[in-house]
Amino acid sequence: MNNASTSVAITLKQVQKTFSDGTLALKPLDLHIEKGEILVLLGPSGCGKTTTLRLIAGLEFCDQGGQILFGDRDVTSIAIEQRRVGMVFQSYALFPNMNVSENIAYGLRVRGESKALKEKKVQEMLTLFDLEPYAERGIDQLSGGQRQRVALARAIITEPEVLLLDEPLSALDALLKKRLRTDINALLKRLGITAVYVTHDQEEAMAMGDRIAVLDRGDIAQIGTAEDIYLSPKSEFVANFIGQMNHFDGLLHGQALSFKSNFMALPEALYSTHKEGERLRCMTRPEDMRLIAFEDATLKGAVFHSVFLGDRTRVLVSVEGVTELLHVDCFERKRYSRGDRVGLLVPPLRVVLLPTKETEDMPC
Amino acid sequence: MKQNKQYLLLIIPALIVSLAFFLLPMAKLLWLSLTEQHGISYWYILTKPVYLKSLGSTFLLSAVVTITSLVIATIVGLFLTRHAFRGKSILVAMLSFPLVFPGVVIGFFVIMLAGRQGLFAELGLALTGERWTLAYSIAGLFIGYLYFSIPRVVLTVMGAAEKLDHNLIEAGRSLGANRWQLLRDVTLPALTPGLISSGSICFATSMGAFGTAFTLATNLNVLPMTIYTEFTLNANFAMAAALSLILGFITWLCLTIARRQGGSSLGMGG
């Protein structure tokens, strides 16, 4: 089975959503999703992920002036049942009055397809999702993972133009989550279906998506591939949301950022775009920093605390001139104890610099 | 949104039924009771002893029945929730049947119990050589009203008592409270909303009970019987309308109280 022929690109133009109670859930949004692409909507709770998805699905309608296109088809005011979307709900929304095969076949049933076709396609789906032994079971006799698969099978059996998934794995345990997200990713790619995938789990987002759109209070904060977003976040919000970041302020001094007696060399691309003496916020990830000998370093500090995490040791270092403790991941099996004097090496290319807002000078 | 039209389609039948066969009749009733000689019926109700007495005695009877059934049913309900014994579930099931028995049948049961050939009569004959017949007096009504009130309160008490947090009782006991103190300070306060709610439903049902009184044909003029006589014998429609509106208002008030307390307004028998 292949959806490549039926799937389409999705375009959102100036789509905004105000709920009847006046809540502005989504600020005007432009978004283009290529045919066959998987876009992940990522963001904290209440940022408007579900709202965006429901607008694309046709379960909500956007404010006047917005436009939603499936390929060339304007679907802005078309109800969900005519949009040809497949949808997987967070709670799966499986029908308790039907068994597994009836659930899977439902999309074909309402289209009035012949019995033979229904049976053939349901069989295909049962095989594809390893559900054959459960075909006659009721929904309440299935495990969470099986329900999830039934929901997915039910959504794709009609070969929808786009597939929408709202936190489809959030009800499952961590181990199953990891396995299923690889499976789903492989399946979606094989089907070549355009998909929008909502999650608030950044690891899941990075594993699933061709591109990730990070939402912040009803607005797209950044959109791009996982690398883009992880390596060069455009704002502190994005940087904080994906992975862990060290933030610290310093003054630009020549080709380096200085913190009292310490300094950190910067690549040309970074220092040349800022003014001498400017206060800058520097962000680096714990796994990018390295602990080196105290004497060799330009950035020196003392170990405040260290935690053994199995695959690495997280070391918290206090550096003179830097308010925050810096988190450093150390992958060698080395032990640090409080008060050890260490040097820090920050690879210049792994640094993100953002101008600090003068108003929130030096947070403590 | 265009789907709203389809949703409206769903309630049109209910709206028509409710408007045509309930709201319109009630409005007409109100209109009739008010326009007939400028609502003189209401004046009569307030001044003529026949009506005042009927209203008063119905009120009193219903209140006494309500209080009695609350006491009886609380004892029975608490006992049934706290102790398990064989055949309990059948007993509880049977307790709930009288809820939907029509008033006439309950009236007949009263005759069976306390009529001229009833159980009490036989009992009295055996004990004192005299037949005890209570059925056709106010006592008969009292027995009949108790009959349909007790099950309702018992079921409510059982429902509330099952939800009662057992830790509360244990906490009370750990603090050294004795059985009566526990009942007074823990159990009864927890049951109060249910008792208020089922009590007001009992009261409302007793006020409006027609079938039982009709079957027993007592000399006591309870309100529904007064309404019936006004309508059939005296052909005084305005008076019947006014009385039934007053009755309706009282029962509506009781059931509103019951709903406030979160009770479900289970079937009105009587």
């Binding site: 969900i80 049942e81 499986l94 | 039948p13 009739l32 939907v100 049948v105 069976m112 159980l119 079957t215």
Partner: protein
């Protein structure tokens, strides 16, 4: 815990109360089957009285069954969609409708009957037919149907089920009949049982609405209590209990069954 005096006192009291509720039922059953109740069971058991009741009152029984069934049918068509609407929307209209539908529970049957007579009593075709009683029964039982369906709807997440069906292309009516109705089956069934029981036993309204040609079973009962010998009344009551008790037991059984998780 040791069972003390108070336990036995409470047990005795409870049994006494239960006896008060149950003994009359058995008494009227025996009375309906005894040759001569005044003499007692030793006069022999007989079905004579039951046959006699059948001969005298069978038409009231048929009419009662007829009205109960039609009332149920009307309640299904009117009440189920209405319950769905009430569960679905929260508007002024739905609040008003909800209030209008619950009110007949609170208003005594007499008042409703008087109102119906005052408005429609003049249309003699209607006044004389059993449809007049039907209307009263629908008004009286509809709230129970609506409430019991509504209770089930409020306990399942029907909105998301419906959205699921819509995403698969189901139209409004397909959603209603494929998803909503099957999933509130338990509520519908208990509403149906409730309607049948209440309609079969309704007296307060029916007594005012009936005509000599449209007598229902409870009306006939009142008639027989006033004019027939005790055995006949008992046999008639027996028939009534025979009709109504299976419904009550079915309702009990339905409530006891553990609810399916939706």
């Amino acid at each position: 815990m040791k069972k003390g005096m108070s336990f036995y006192f409470q047990l005795a009291f409870t049994l006494l109360v239960c006896a008060f509720l149950i003994v009359p039922i058995f008494m009227s059953i025996t009375a309906g089957l005894t040759n001569n109740y005044f003499v007692g069971v030793k006069s022999g058991l007989t079905l004579r009285w039951v046959y006699q009741v059948w001969g005298l009152y069978s038409d009231t029984i048929w009419l009662t069954i007829n009205i109960a069934l039609v009332t149920t049918l009307v309640n299904l068509c009117v009440g189920v969609p209405c319950a769905y609407y009430l569960a679905r929307t929260r508007s002024k209209l739905s609040a008003f409708l909800d209030e209008c539908l619950t009110l007949p529970i609170a208003i005594p049957g007499m008042a409703i009957a008087l109102g119906l007579i005052s408005v429609y009593g003049g249309i003699s075709e209607f006044r004389m037919s059993w449809l007049f009683i039907l209307v009263g029964h629908v008004i009286f039982t509809l709230p129970f149907m609506v409430k019991s369906v509504l209770a089930v709807l409020q306990s399942i997440n029907f909105r998301v089920l419906e959205e699921g069906a819509a995403s698969l292309g189901a139209s409004f009516w397909q959603r209603f009949f494929h998803i909503i109705v099957p999933n509130c089956k338990t509520g519908i069934v208990s509403g149906v049982l409730m309607t049948l029981t209440l309609s079969a036993g309704e007296f307060n309204l029916t007594w005012m609405l009936h005509t000599p040609l449209t007598k229902t079973l409870p009306v006939g009962l009142a008639d027989s209590y006033a004019s027939m010998r005790l055995e006949v009344s008992s046999a008639y009551t027996l028939i009534f209990l025979g009709m109504i008790l299976p419904l009550l037991m079915a309702a009990q059984w339905l409530n006891r069954k553990p609810k399916r998780t939706a």
